[in-house]
């Protein structure tokens, strides 16, 4: 098949790019992800998972069951930040500023 065929529809990563990552030594989906961004778009590899796994299997000669699935991350579906915040009034995430000045206070 034409190596310029898109595999990951969201990030528009083609067969050639995936094989280049394989040649660089990556042999699992998540490693290919880091090198190429394959599967990192809005669908979060829901569409390309098995197509990429098949390319990995063909390249490495490993059976499909040894080819790991990419790790799923929250949110399962894209969600607007405002929808996540909604009625939330406070945040437990400390600010960098607060943290640094408290260190000045104690370590100064």
């Amino acid at each position: 098949m034409d190596k310029s065929t898109i595999v990951c529809k969201c990030e528009e990563i083609n067969i050639d790019e995936i094989e280049t990552a394989l040649k660089a030594g990556a042999c699992q989906f998540d490693d290919i992800k880091r090198l190429t961004r394959c599967g990192m778009g809005p669908c979060q590899s829901k569409v390309c998972t098995n197509m990429v796994r098949e390319i990995i299997a063909a390249y490495t000669g490993e059976p499909m069951e040894h080819i790991e699935y990419p790790k799923n991350r929250m949110p399962i579906k894209i969600t607007r930040l405002g929808v996540l915040v909604a009625n939330q009034e406070t945040s437990s995430v400390v600010s960098v500023f607060k943290e640094s000045v408290s260190e000045v206070d104690t370590n100064g």
Partner: protein, 355 residues
């Protein structure tokens, strides 16, 4: 929000389970991301032949209506337009409805997220007009919109048969079915069905590429002997299903890989309980099966849940489950016997943990 049972996914498995649970007085909610209950039944105009006896023979669309009417009359909370997007630290599920995001507490969670369709790789598969066959059926029967006028279908299987027929009935010219396998590898009965409908099947063929300026206009069918170029505006991909398991992964369920169940699936025991003891799975999410298998696995799971909630005693539950497993064995015969065998070995592997 707090419930005794929260069901993720309002398709046939989820609805079946919700009905049984609610009948026994369990405070139940269904989290469904779409605007209606029924899942993929909602566009299935074909008559479902092998439904459990009590349902007779009816179309998926009719069954979806039956289920959703019954579910709302029996007091199940249907959270439509709600999507499970994650989990909180203690395993409580996080749900978003497009305006707000909040936890839903539940004693038991049943994941019935069903299956998704496998895409297929060929140059041009990303063009508009190339879609999964399920998408074409949704447009056709749920939305009453024509997905195209001139079509080819990739994949010769029972799903593509049903939908090709429906596409044609609505005026789409189905130019042919493209199948990678040779004629000997395909079920004879299915080939006859296509023949009787005068739908041509190109065996040992593939789509070499699809092309078009703005949307798909042409496909090149590649075959050992001939290359066919076809002018079309619709390519439907019927390349099989795989279980949708994202919620189970975020609920920390352990997984295994079983080709005959559709690839990666959660480990589960004879009550369809996963390695996370408050999480159950049923339907296609527990391995791709037939409609009867979907409904029966849901019944087994809900029996396990009722037992866990001490609504059914152990003896009753055991009896019930035995009957249902026999039913499941009957449902999963013929081309589904491999599914059943795989399921049995999965359940047997799980046994030590249940003790």
């Amino acid at each position: 929000m707090e419930f005794e049972l929260v069901i993720i996914g309002g398709g046939p498995a989820g609805l079946m389970a919700a009905l049984t649970a609610a009948e026994k007085g369990v405070k139940t909610a269904i989290v469904e991301e779409s605007f209606a209950l029924g899942g993929q039944l909602r566009q299935q105009a074909q008559v479902l032949e092998n439904l459990p006896k009590e349902f007779g023979k009816q179309s998926g669309i009719a069954l979806a209506k039956f289920f959703s009417n019954k579910v709302s009359s029996i007091g199940v909370t249907a959270l439509l337009g709600h999507t499970m997007i994650g989990t909180y630290r203690n395993g409580t599920i996080g749900v978003s409805n497009g305006k707000d995001t909040f936890p839903i507490y539940a004693k038991k969670i049943l994941v019935t997220t069903g299956a998704a369709e496998q895409a297929a790789l060929f140059p041009g598969w990303t063009l508009p007009g190339v879609m999964t066959i399920g998408a074409a059926q949704i447009l056709l029967n749920r939305e009453r919109v024509l997905p195209g006028k001139e079509a080819v279908v990739l994949g010769c299987n029972s799903i593509s048969y049903d939908i090709a027929k429906q596409l044609r009935a609505c005026g789409v010219n189905v130019q042919g079915i493209i199948e990678k396998k040779s004629i000997d590898e395909i079920d004879k009965e299915l080939i006859e069905k296509f023949e009787s409908e005068n739908i041509e099947v190109f065996f040992h063929s593939n789509i070499e590429k699809a092309a078009g300026k703005q949307h798909v206009e042409k496909v090149w069918i590649d075959n050992d002997v001939l290359k066919k170029e076809r002018e079309i505006d619709l390519v439907c991909i019927s390349n099989g299903l795989y279980p949708v398991t994202e919620p189970l992964e975020l609920l920390d369920c352990e997984f295994t890989y079983i080709e005959n169940l559709g690839g990666r699936i959660p480990k589960y025991g004879s009550s369809f309980t996963t390695s996370n003891s408050s999480v159950y799975v049923a339907g296609n999410a527990a391995g791709i099966t037939c409609i009867e298998g979907i409904l029966v696995t849901a019944s087994i799971a809900v029996t396990g849940i009722l037992e866990d909630l001490a609504i059914l005693n152990n003896i009753e539950a055991k009896k019930q489950k035995e009957i249902l497993w026999t039913e499941l064995l009957k449902a999963e015969t013929g081309r589904y016997s491999k599914v059943h065998d795989a399921r049995i070995s999965l359940v047997n592997d799980f046994l030590p943990k249940e003790i």
